[in-house]
C-alpha cells in the first residue's frame, strides 16, 4: 500500500536512475583498465598460444607444426638445465629474502632504533635503482682485478688470486643469489614492517611478562600473525625467480658455459638472439613457463598455512 505523500513511481525511478549511474560509474572505473588488460595482457598471451604451434621467425611465412615445439622442448637439454637453475633460485631466493626481511623488519619495528627511518631508506634503496645499475654495480663487486669482494676477503688474509666470481661455472650462479636478495629485501622489509604494525602491542606485552625472548616473540607471535603477508610475498618471489632474467642477462648473459642460464633468458635468446628468431619455439617455452608458474602457485597455496587470525 502506498504511503501517503510518497510517490512510489518516483522512488522506483530514482532507484533505477541510481542503478544506471552506478553501472556507468563501474563501467568507467573498470572499463579502461579492463580494456588495457584485454589488449595488452590477455590478447598477446592468447596469441602466444597460437604462436607456440608455429615454426616462425617473425618475418617469413609461418609453418603450422602442431605440438612439435612442445615435443621438441622436452628433448631440449638446455630447457631442463635452465629450469634446474631456476629451481635453485626459486628455493633459495624467496626463503632467504623472506627470512632476512622479516628479521630486519622485526628489528626496525621493535628495537626502537633512532635511525630506523634511515635504515628503512637504506634497505629500500636498491629497489629504486634500475636493474641495469644493480647488475653493473655487482659486476664490479665480483670483478677479479678491481672487485670489492676480493679486496674485502684480502682484508681477512684470504688470497683469491684475482678470482672472477662470475667467470667460473662453480660460483657464477651462487654469485647471483646475493644480488637478487639484496635487491629484493628492501621492499619486503617495508611490507613486513607495515604488517607488523598491525599486531596489537598487548600481545608482545603479555609475552614479555611471560618472559619470552625476542626470538620467541618473532617466531611465535610475529611470523604467525603476518603469515598471510608472508604467503603472498613468497608467491611473488617464487614467480619472480621463474620470470625474471634481466639481471642474469646483464651480469652473465647466461654464462659461463650456460651455468647461469635460466628459462627466461633461454626463451628470450631463442626469440631475439643475434642469430636466433624462433618465435614459435620461444612461445612454446613461454607457455610451459606459464604452466610451471600456475603449478608453483597451487603448491604454495596448498602447503602454506591459511589460518585466519583475528586480533
Amino acid at each position: 500500500m502506498a504511503q501517503p505523500g510518497v510517490n512510489t513511481a518516483g522512488s522506483g525511478g530514482l532507484l533505477r536512475k541510481n542503478k544506471v549511474q552506478k553501472r556507468i560509474f563501474i563501467f568507467f572505473a573498470i572499463g579502461p583498465s579492463f580494456l588495457g588488460y584485454l589488449l595488452f595482457t590477455l590478447y598477446p598471451n592468447i596469441l602466444s598460444v597460437y604462436y607456440s604451434l608455429l615454426e616462425w621467425n617473425g618475418i617469413s611465412a609461418s609453418k603450422f607444426v602442431g605440438l612439435d615445439n612442445y615435443f621438441y622442448m622436452f628433448k631440449d637439454n638446455f630447457v631442463w638445465t635452465s629450469l634446474y637453475h631456476n629451481l635453485i633460485l626459486m628455493i633459495t631466493v624467496p626463503i632467504l629474502t623472506i627470512y632476512i626481511s622479516v628479521f630486519l623488519a622485526y628489528l626496525l619495528n621493535n628495537k626502537g632504533y633512532l635511525e630506523s627511518a634511515f635504515y628503512k631508506v637504506l634497505f629500500f634503496l636498491p629497489n629504486v635503482l634500475a636493474i641495469v645499475v644493480v647488475a653493473l654495480l655487482w659486476r664490479f663487486i665480483y670483478d677479479g682485478e678491481y672487485g670489492m669482494l676480493n679486496a674485502f676477503l684480502k682484508l681477512f688474509g684470504i688470497e683469491t688470486n684475482n678470482f672472477y666470481w662470475l667467470g667460473d661455472t662453480r660460483t657464477a650462479l651462487w654469485a647471483i643469489l646475493p644480488v637478487s636478495i639484496w635487491s629484493g629485501v628492501g621492499l619486503y622489509i617495508i611490507i613486513f614492517m607495515n604488517a607488523m604494525k598491525g599486531i596489537p602491542a598487548s600481545l608482545y606485552e603479555s609475552a614479555i611478562l611471560d618472559g619470552a625472548t625476542h626470538m620467541q616473540r618473532l617466531f611465535k607471535i610475529t611470523m604467525p600473525l603476518i603469515n598471510p603477508v608472508i604467503r603472498v610475498s613468497a608467491l611473488f618471489l617464487v614467480l619472480g625467480a621463474f620470470k625474471g632474467f634481466e639481471l642474469i642477462l646483464i651480469m652473465t648473459n647466461g654464462g659461463p658455459s650456460g651455468s647461469t642460464e635460466v628459462i627466461g633468458s633461454y626463451m628470450f635468446n631463442m626469440a631475439f638472439g643475434k642469430n636466433s628468431h624462433n618465435y614459435g619455439y620461444a612461445s612454446a617455452i613461454g607457455m610451459f613457463l606459464f604452466i610451471i608458474m600456475v603449478v608453483a602457485k597451487m603448491i604454495i597455496d596448498k602447503f602454506s598455512k591459511r589460518d585466519e587470525i583475528e586480533f
Partner: protein, 491 residues
C-alpha cells in the same frame, strides 16, 4: 701531417692493386656482376613537375616536394657523428629533404618488432648500418627490402661520368652481401677484424709485431706470457668475439689446400659437414693450442666487451680480438703514447704463405624498406649514393670506417682524416702477402636446432679454448643439431 698522408697514400696505393686480385673467396650466392636494370641506366624519371627548374638535374627529383626519410640508425662503435654529418651535408644540398633519426645501440630489436608487426607505415624508411645477423638475410630473402642493384650503375655525385661500380675497390661488389645475386644493401664503408695491439708496448718489449708463420706467432704468445701479460684478450661474456681472430683462417687453410672455391661455397650455404669440416676443426685445434699455452685471460668468462678492450689499453693484455672500430669506441680511454697496431694470425708454416684478414665491406650498409612511397625510396637511394662521395668517406674515416673508394687516396687530405686503427690494418696488409676475405653466410634456419647448435658452441667456447672441453665432441654434437635444422628446412 703531410708526411703521414704521404705514407698512408703509399699504403693505399699498395693495397688497392692487391685488392684487385682478390676474389676467389667471395661469391656466395652469385658473384657475377649485376646486370644494369632499366632504372639503373637512367636517372629516376618520375619527377612530379615538367618544369626543369623544379627538378635537380643530377637525379630528376623534385626540388619543391618535401620528403621526410625515417632512419632507424644502429649506433655502434663508429658512433653517430658520421651519420649526422652525412645528413647535414645531404640536406644542405637538397633542402626539401629532411630526416627523422631514431638511433639506438639495440635498434635491431626495434626493427625486428616492427617487421613482425608488418605495418609498413610504422616501419623506418631506411635501416642502417647493416641490420645484420640472420634477420637481415631472412628479410632480404622475403623481399621486404628494395633491390638496390641499379645503384651500382649510377654516376657517383662527385665524379662526373663515373659509375659507382667503377669507383669502388675492385672486390667490393663481390664481398657485399647479396641474395641470389641481387643487392639489397650497398656498402659505404668497410671494417677489418683481427688482433689489435699497442705498438709502444710491443716496441718496449721487443716483441715480434709481424709474425709470418704459426710457429712465430706461438713464440710471440710465449714471449708475451713470459712477461706476465695476457697475450690475447676477448670478451668471454660474448665469447664468439674470439672468432674475430680466427674465423677467416678457415679460408686461409682452404686456399692452401687448393679447395678454397668449394669451401667458400659450402661455408656460405652451411653445407655439411660444416662444424666438422677439416677447416673448422683445425681452426679449433689452433685456438685450443694457444689456450693451453695460457694465451687467454683467467676468468675471461666474466669479462665484457669494454673490459676486454680496457685490458688492452691498460697494457694488461697485449692483443685484443676485435674490429677496427675499437679506436673510436674507446677514444675517451686511450692513454697517451698508445699506438695502434694490427695483425692477423698467420696459420701457415712458411713466411711466403698468404695471411688472410677478415674484412667486411658492409659497415654502414643501408637498406630501404620496399613498401614505401616511391619518392621516399628514390631519395633514400640518392642518400645512399651520396654516402659514397669522397668527402663523406673521408669524414667517416675519422670515426674508424674504412673508405672503399679506390680514388680515395688520390687526395692526401682525405687520408689525413683516417683513424690510426684502420690505418694499422692497411699497414699490415701492405707489409704482408695478405688477402682480405669475408665470412658472411647467406642461409639462415628457423628451426630451433640451428639455434641450439649455435648456443652449444657459444656455451663451450671458453672451455674448448682452454682445452677443458674436447672441441671435437662439441663440434660433432653441433653438426648433428645443424643436420636436424637442415632436414627440417627441406620438409
Amino acid at each position: 701531417m703531410k708526411k703521414t698522408a704521404k705514407s698512408v697514400a703509399g699504403l693505399m696505393a699498395a693495397v688497392l692493386p692487391m685488392a684487385a686480385v682478390i676474389g676467389c673467396s667471395g661469391g656466395g650466392s652469385g658473384s657475377s656482376s649485376p646486370s644494369p636494370t632499366k632504372a639503373a641506366s637512367s636517372a629516376p624519371s618520375s619527377a612530379p613537375s615538367d618544369n626543369k627548374s623544379d627538378v635537380y638535374p643530377e637525379n630528376g627529383l623534385s626540388k619543391t616536394e618535401k620528403v621526410t626519410i625515417k632512419w632507424g640508425y644502429w649506433e655502434n662503435g663508429y658512433g653517430r657523428e658520421w651519420a649526422d654529418n652525412a645528413i647535414k651535408k645531404f640536406t644542405a644540398k637538397y633542402p626539401n629533404v629532411k630526416f627523422e633519426v631514431t638511433s639506438s645501440p639495440v635498434i635491431r630489436d626495434l626493427i625486428g618488432t616492427k617487421m613482425a608487426a608488418k605495418n609498413d607505415n610504422d616501419m623506418f624508411d631506411i635501416i642502417s648500418p647493416s641490420f645484420n645477423g640472420d634477420a637481415g638475410t631472412i628479410a632480404q630473402k622475403e623481399g621486404l627490402f628494395e633491390e638496390l642493384t641499379d645503384l651500382w650503375d649510377r654516376e657517383v655525385p662527385d665524379k662526373k661520368g663515373v659509375k659507382l661500380k667503377d669507383v669502388v675497390l675492385p672486390n667490393t661488389m663481390e664481398y657485399s652481401a647479396k641474395i641470389d645475386g641481387k643487392f639489397y644493401q650497398i656498402p659505404m664503408g668497410a671494417y677489418a677484424l683481427g688482433l689489435f695491439y699497442d705498438k709502444t708496448l710491443f716496441e718496449k718489449n721487443g716483441w715480434n709485431q709481424n709474425p709470418k708463420t704459426w710457429d712465430e706467432f706461438k713464440k710471440l704468445v710465449s714471449d708475451i706470457k713470459a712477461k706476465g701479460i695476457i697475450p690475447i684478450t676477448y670478451p668471454g661474456v660474448y665469447p664468439d668475439y674470439i672468432y674475430f681472430g680466427f674465423r677467416i683462417k678457415m679460408f686461409e687453410m682452404a686456399e692452401k689446400k687448393g679447395t678454397l672455391d668449394q669451401f667458400t661455397k659450402d661455408y656460405r650455404s652451411f653445407k655439411q659437414p660444416f662444424y666438422t669440416s677439416t677447416e673448422y676443426k683445425e681452426m679449433w685445434n689452433r685456438i685450443t693450442e694457444l689456450g693451453k699455452m695460457g694465451a687467454y685471460p683467467d676468468g675471461v668468462a666474466a669479462i665484457n666487451h669494454t673490459q676486454s678492450q680496457m685490458q688492452l689499453l691498460q697494457g694488461k693484455a697485449a692483443m685484443a680480438a676485435t674490429g677496427d672500430w675499437v679506436e673510436n669506441e674507446m677514444k675517451d680511454s686511450i692513454p697517451d703514447g698508445f699506438k695502434w697496431g694490427f695483425m692477423s694470425i698467420p696459420f701457415g708454416d712458411s713466411a711466403n704463405d698468404k695471411i688472410w684478414i677478415e674484412n667486411g665491406i658492409g659497415a654502414g650498409s643501408m637498406m630501404i624498406w620496399k613498401n614505401k612511397p616511391e619518392n621516399v625510396k628514390k631519395w633514400a637511394k640518392e642518400f645512399n649514393l651520396f654516402l659514397m662521395t669522397n668527402e663523406i668517406q673521408a669524414f667517416n674515416g675519422k670515426f674508424g670506417i674504412s673508405p672503399i673508394r679506390k680514388d680515395f687516396a688520390d687526395d692526401p687530405k682525405n687520408l689525413e682524416q683516417l683513424q690510426s686503427a684502420p690505418r694499422a690494418v692497411l699497414e699490415f696488409a701492405k707489409n704482408n702477402k695478405s688477402q682480405y676475405g669475408t665470412t658472411v653466410q647467406d642461409v639462415s634456419f628457423s628451426h630451433p636446432s640451428a639455434a641450439r647448435a649455435t648456443k652449444l658452441l657459444q656455451d663451450s667456447i671458453i672451455d674448448m679454448a682452454t682445452g677443458k672441453k674436447d672441441s671435437g665432441a662439441v663440434l660433432e654434437e653441433a653438426e648433428k643439431l645443424l643436420k636436424e635444422a637442415i632436414d627440417s628446412s627441406k620438409k
